[in-house]
């Protein structure tokens, strides 16, 4: 199985540190913070960024 993780830039250090502790090299997509609290229009930018990151993983 392949896992791809979406995290906001704020949580990137935590995700990387967790991955290191578990000896995992994560496929990480970083989007702007926050995700919670955004309305539908604001969320579009995060979806676009997450999709672009996923496409990069697909083509890597």
């Amino acid at each position: 199985m392949v896992g791809v993780v979406i995290a906001t830039e704020t949580f990137k250090p935590l995700v990387l540190a967790q991955a290191k502790a578990r000896k995992v090299d994560p496929h990480l997509i970083v989007v702007k913070h926050p995700v919670g609290g955004l309305n539908a229009e604001e969320l579009v930018e995060r979806i676009d960024a997450a999709f672009a990151g996923f496409q990069q993983e697909m083509n890597a």
């Binding site: 704020t10 949580f11 250090p13 935590l14 540190a17 967790q18 502790a21 578990r22």
Partner: protein, 348 residues
């Protein structure tokens, strides 16, 4: 097991007090306050106080490394603890490391939770743990350094660095030290640890991932019913983390309020039942957007209210403090448990 990148003993340049503080802060070991130097001799004295305690420890999140007795003792020394406090520190840590406590979630969350540490049994008196006036506050070495030692262990062994691995939005003063004892001597009900199945002569440390205490002031009510009105409405907060991270909370009743409840025949079970049915958040106090989020994440209203616990068993009643008409509500992070661990006193 294999060693992590660090070594257990560090050979550093000779440092005076000021240089030591600067060095320790540079290493990221401090909570911001000065630290006692963990020399080999002082750490050995601390370790000796846990003689006979051979039970291992689970890895500490978020760094996921297994502590040694010496690394734990080094943090206790740095916190200013006396060696005789060390068994209580270890009992508290063991509670925190149980799966139900959810240390990883409580460290990574944006919530302001900190390990609440409550001590019961004879050790409270032996260590001079404050259970009475100002029990949540300053002035007692045991309260301050036991709570601080646990925090330093989570920082230094666990790796819970603020802003990096500890993601709390605002943090809390409780993250410096949050330790108190139950005022068993004035408590009209059986002590907390006895109600949890321990013997009265056991010394027990109870932990919960909680917020700092919220005051419940009621100088006017002269009956249990009147007090409960104030308690329930103070506790039913629309901003409670436990609306969507369902979990326990503590109510630490002050002795004068406890005496009123007791005089009117209210025991702990009655208090819990009344709080369960009455300390609920009215929907009119919650925004439509927030309510929609709660419902979308599976937290549906009960009638015209949202509950902040899963049932009366999530509501934990203790008694602490001194004279005065005040009690305290200690909300939890939510996805956590109240864990009580018997202190292993050193073998002869």
């Amino acid at each position: 097991m294999s060693d992590s990148a660090d070594t257990e003993i560090l050979d550093i340049a000779d440092l005076d007090q000021e240089a030591w503080q600067d060095y320790a802060i540079e290493q990221g070991w401090s909570d911001g306050l000065p630290l006692v130097m963990p020399t080999e001799a002082s750490v050995a004295r601390m370790v000796a106080a846990a003689h006979g305690d051979n039970e291992g420890f689970a890895p500490i999140s978020p760094r996921q490394v297994v502590p040694t007795m010496a690394s734990l003792a080094a943090n206790a020394v740095m916190a200013g603890a006396r060696p005789e406090y060390f068994p209580a520190i270890l009992a508290g840590l063991r509670g925190i490391l149980t799966p139900g406590y959810n240390l990883h979630g409580s460290m990574a969350t944006t919530h302001s939770c900190a390990p609440m540490v409550m001590v019961n049994g004879p050790l409270r008196l032996a260590l001079n743990i404050n259970c009475s006036s100002n029990c949540f506050g300053q002035g007692w070495r045991a309260n301050a350094s036991i709570g601080r030692a646990i925090q330093l262990i989570l920082l230094n062994v666990g790796g819970g660095k603020p802003g990096v691995m500890d993601r709390s939005t605002q943090g809390s003063p409780a993250k410096y030290a949050f330790c108190f004892g139950e005022n068993e001597e004035e408590c009209p009900w059986p002590p907390f640890h006895v109600r949890r199945g321990f013997a009265p002569e056991d010394s027990v440390v109870t932990v919960m991932s909680g917020e700092a205490p919220h005051n419940i002031n009621d100088h006017g009510s002269t009956s249990a019913e009147g007090l409960m009105t104030t308690f329930a409405h103070t506790i039913a907060q629309p901003g409670a983390n436990t609306i969507y991270g369902k979990g326990p909370y503590m109510v630490v009743v002050g002795p004068e309020h406890a005496a009123t409840f007791h005089r009117d025949g209210w025991g702990v079970d009655k208090l819990r039942d009344e709080l369960w049915t009455r300390a609920r958040v009215p929907l009119k106090n919650i925004s439509d957007e927030n309510l929609a989020m709660y419902i979308a994440t599976g937290h549906r209203p009960t009638g015209d209210f949202l509950t902040i616990a899963r049932g009366p068993e999530d509501i934990h009643i203790a008694m602490a403090g001194g004279p005065g008409k005040h009690s305290a509500f200690i909300p939890s992070f939510g996805g956590t448990a109240v864990v009580s661990t018997r202190v292993k006193l050193p073998s002869a």
